[in-house]
């Protein structure tokens, strides 16, 4: 009981979020569920990117390409080798992680700029690299995946809870993604609170000082990129499963940008940030096009231009404005507002000594 009463508000927030996400498919349609699956997938890869960008201060513009690697690993394993789709998810993650680790070794020898350069190039090159071994990857056409059937126990349990029609594939994949997202967020939370996370933050805030304390700087940087790539591989694999289709054009350069926007808007070096970022980056383009096409006063020529160019313009403006005015993103803003509110509730400090009155007992 004492633990319950003393638990900080953020524990309750986490609990509420978990309950909301777990119950979501029982109240929305199957199609909407599949949209939220993609939100969670975005959240996973953005979490990985956050470990790299937010916690270790490196930057990758190639996470879209790493997602492509994960997605194609899963697609090829299922399509050519008939491996169970659930088994392909960790394989895709580990393979992508290994590739990230290997790419990180040369790219991280110098400053963070070189990793950005190399991953940017990777993101641009990947579609043409995928198209080349057409035998393996299906070339321009890509690979179609047969949607997996939900297992019987899950179907029964779902029908029992909703009392409605049996579970669809989309709903099943939502729960798979949700379970994996929970594990990945929990792993990230553990990682950043312990030795590797502290080492990464030390490197981010002062490389020379970190090295002086005996931290293996390039080792941890490469490790951070490897872990980050692992997250991208898992997310890519889930993305392939959830959309049932992978093609070279599913993973353009703009996807990598979109993911970076997700990290920045949610808040660098924040655990809930990637979820906010995932929600935002998934819904912004959809909302933009819905809004632009629903407004009768916008001429149709301009409205189609808004639908095509709107997301890029707003992503760009958001990146710049957030970096200038709110470097800690949405989560940072909320935390700041919360801290200010608590200060208000406690009453103003004594101006003379600057001492704050004791914490209010009842509010």
């Amino acid at each position: 009981m004492r633990f319950l009463r003393q638990a900080p508000p953020r524990y309750w927030l986490v609990l509420v979020a978990i309950v909301l996400f777990a119950g979501l498919p029982t109240v929305v349609t199957s199609f909407q569920t599949s949209e939220w699956t993609q939100v969670l997938i975005f959240a996973i890869v953005i979490m990985g990117l956050n470990i790299l960008v937010g916690y270790s201060g490196q930057i990758s513009l190639g996470h879209g390409a790493l997602m492509a690697l994960g997605a194609y690993t899963t697609a090829i394993l299922i399509h050519r080798y008939q491996i169970s789709y659930l088994a392909t998810i960790p394989i895709a993650g580990l393979l992508t992680g290994a590739v990230g680790f290997l790419l990180g070794i040369p790219a991280l020898r110098l400053s963070a700029l070189y990793l950005a350069l190399a991953t940017f190039a990777l993101a641009v090159v990947t579609p043409s690299l995928i198209k080349r071994p057409a035998e393996l990857t299906g070339g321009v056409q890509g690979i179609l995946l047969v949607p997996p059937d939900p297992p019987q126990p899950a179907q029964d349990a779902f029908a029992l809870v909703t009392g409605g029609p049996p579970m669809t594939t989309d709903q099943w994949l939502y729960y798979v993604t949700f379970a994996i997202a929970l594990v990945m967020f929990w792993l990230a939370w553990n990682l950043v609170r312990h030795r590797p996370g502290r080492a990464m933050r030390a490197i981010r805030d002062g490389e020379v000082a970190a090295a002086a304390y005996g931290i293996n700087v390039s080792g941890y940087k490469t490790l951070a990129f490897g872990i980050s790539a692992f997250y991208a591989g898992i997310a890519g694999s889930l993305y392939g499963l959830a959309t049932g289709f992978v093609s070279p054009d599913t993973f353009p350069l703009s996807l990598s940008f979109q993911l970076l926007v997700g990290v920045v808007i949610g808040g660098l070096a924040s655990i809930p940030g990637p979820l906010v970022g995932g929600i935002f980056t998934f819904w912004l383009p959809i909302m933009t096009s819905q809004f632009a096409s629903s407004q009768p006063w916008i001429p149709s020529g301009i409205s189609s231009a808004i639908i095509k160019a709107g997301p890029a313009v707003s992503y760009g403006a958001i990146l710049i404005l957030i970096m200038i005015f709110a470097p800690n993103g949405v989560v940072g803003l909320v935390m700041q507002g919360y801290a200010r509110l608590r200060e208000r509730l406690r009453g103003a400090g004594d101006r003379g000594t600057g001492q704050m009155p004791p914490e209010a007992q009842t509010v």
Binding site: V53, G57, I59, L61, L103, P106, A107, R109, L110, S111, A112, L113, Y114, A116, L117, A118, F120, A121, L122, V124, V125, S128, L129, K131, R132, V208, L253, S254, F257, L260, V261, V264, A305, I306, K308, A309, G310, P311, A312, V313, S314, Y315, G316, A317, I318, L319, I320, M323, I324, P327
Partner: protein
Amino acid sequence: MQELLQQVVSGLASGGVFASLALALVLIYNAMGLVNFAQGEMAMFATFIAFALIEGGLSYWIAFPLTLAIAFVGGLLVERIAIRPVERAPILTLVIVTLGLATLTNGLAGFIWGYVPRSFPSPFAIGTVNILGAFTSYQNLGVIAISAVVLLLIYLLLQHTKIGLAMRAAAHHPEASRLLGVRVSWMLALGWGLASAVGAVSGIMVAPVLLLEPTMMQTIIIYAFAAAVLGGIESPLGAVVGGLIVGVTVNLAGAYLVGGDLELAVALAIIVAVLIVKPNGLFGRAAVRRV
């Protein structure tokens, strides 16, 4: 042999384009230790402005310098508005801002001019000339000539004028320069303006070949990255040499080795190979970390 020579000449022409854009990257890197990821998109935007001017009835040779002037002012304004507020922030912040600029510029161009590829006029006569047995187009020769002139002008400006000296001083020793009365912050803005104009040259040179569209520079910027890394990212001479080497290598590899669709992968391979074998590039100094 003749075909090989032809490939080399057209490689040099694309090398000139890469060199201009790489030089733009180097100018900004030297001014503030930052790779400007928006350089290609800014060049694309300037090319669209040139397109609009020519469509508006201006002759090519008036529109060309006018565009460079507009690009210069535009680069200056971008630095003042978007970069200045985060000038002292960590490099990561600056990189994210330039990425924001890249997306923003790309989206704006798409919003204003749409995503349909347009043909861009070339000022050079159609046809080929015979040089030492290799046939090459006037377009290629013109691109090589104009790139050479631009690079020479930048060299003269940086090495033989007072303002060039001030710019170099501000980049190498901001504090000392400030004490000597150099307006360091404005030198950074000047660097951005100059880089923007040089980048615009590459955009205008490449547009007749590639067709003008918002994604036009996305591949060119990768080659420019490769050129800058190969040359040593802080060396203007390295950018030029790197650009020419990348241009010829990519062209030859595309023709004889990997096929045209994987020419971009060659650029990636060059970047990774340089980072493994000689991380400071051909003309770069070894990185010294000050404690």
